[in-house]
Symmetry: C2
């Protein structure tokens, strides 16, 4: 089952719903939730919640709402998070470290969090061999080899701008299907690879716009 043509804007909200539902399941305070309440907690209008979910199926009951545990499981399935997803982080600067720690901690703590950090890479000989959680930072020279051997198809790129495009190219050749680029540079990938960009420095800079004089 593939739901192509689903817009980015929709996909972007699914993990938000997932989080609200998972929280509700944990708290165990309610078995059912309306689009009204789900929207409120996620910061999205109720109509949009219903429309987003309707792209993937009919998960609710009229007059009743959505069963939280069921909808959470469906969202996990839709997001491919119902089974372990291996993930590599390339570039173990401060940001790479932060992302690695966060994901590792969460993978251990939350049974539902199935994003597993499977490999860490850096180009700096000083960093290679360093232990982070239960992993050792490897030389980026072994990038292709390890991605292929471990069947890693999701990669976080946190290298300097000057190296980003080359790393992306190499990940693509090694079979990556989804790449999240944190380097402050516009990079490209072939159509069949999903490439997203999160640029923290751009976020900081745009924020300054809203400081009135």
């Amino acid at each position: 089952m593939r739901w192509n043509k689903i817009s980015d804007a929709v996909v972007r909200r699914l993990p938000l719903y997932l989080r609200v539902l998972d929280q509700a399941v944990r708290d165990g305070d309610k078995r059912l939730m309306s689009s009204q309440e789900l929207g409120e907690r996620a910061g999205v209008s109720p109509a949009l919640v219903r429309k987003d979910l309707a792209w993937f199926g009919e998960f609710g009951k009229q007059g009743v709402g959505y069963e939280v545990a069921y909808l959470r499981d469906e969202l996990l399935r839709i997001l491919n998070l119902d089974k372990v997803v291996n993930l590599a982080i390339v570039g173990m600067g401060a940001l790479g470290h932060a992302l690695a720690r966060y994901s590792m901690d969460r993978y251990q703590r939350d049974s539902y969090y199935q994003l597993r950090v499977a490999a860490l890479f850096d180009a700096d000989p000083e960093k290679i061999g360093e232990q982070v959680g239960n992993l050792v930072i490897q030389s980026v020279d072994r990038l292709e080899e390890v991605l292929e051997r471990e069947r890693i198809r999701m990669v976080v790129v946190a290298v300097p701008a000057s190296a980003a495009q080359e790393i992306v190219d190499r990940c693509v050749r090694a079979g990556a299907r989804a790449i999240l680029n944190f380097a402050p540079v516009h990079v490209t990938a072939p159509e069949h690879v999903y490439l997203a960009h999160t640029d923290l420095s751009l976020e900081l800079e745009r924020l300054a716009y809203y400081l009135e004089d």
Copy 2:
């Protein structure tokens, strides 16, 4: 001069243009740039480049293009980055550290980068007193006092989800005008404060959607 009503989507692209122009100024390879080339380097269509810039004035010359140094300076002014902007980071976990290091390094290195990290806060007694660059992590108890004294109006929130709303509220009361929240939770602020949210775990989770089965 205030250009209210400029959409978020437009403001979000300005730092992108700024980066391309600044790079061109540094390289010194061209004095002029067309919307075509600026767009190509930024990953934006030429028409959109022209439209975005036109919200703020007439910066180009027909048949010629934009003067890179001039347009860069105008963008710096529009983004309020033509003078030092003080910034506080609350929550010095791995992500807070990464952001602090990044901004501090860049402030030292790039003469045009005027986002100055002016204060660091954490609630953990273990971390308070720790040196990061030329700053010492302070107790979050002193948040209001320091923000007011140092006239800090831009704040990065990198605390755990459970503390985020309280920290945002306190920043608002202490005069913050622009807040960037990294905590994985939906928080709110009054109308007069600009609040943005960057959620790295949501980014990672949505990425998994694009891994085909």
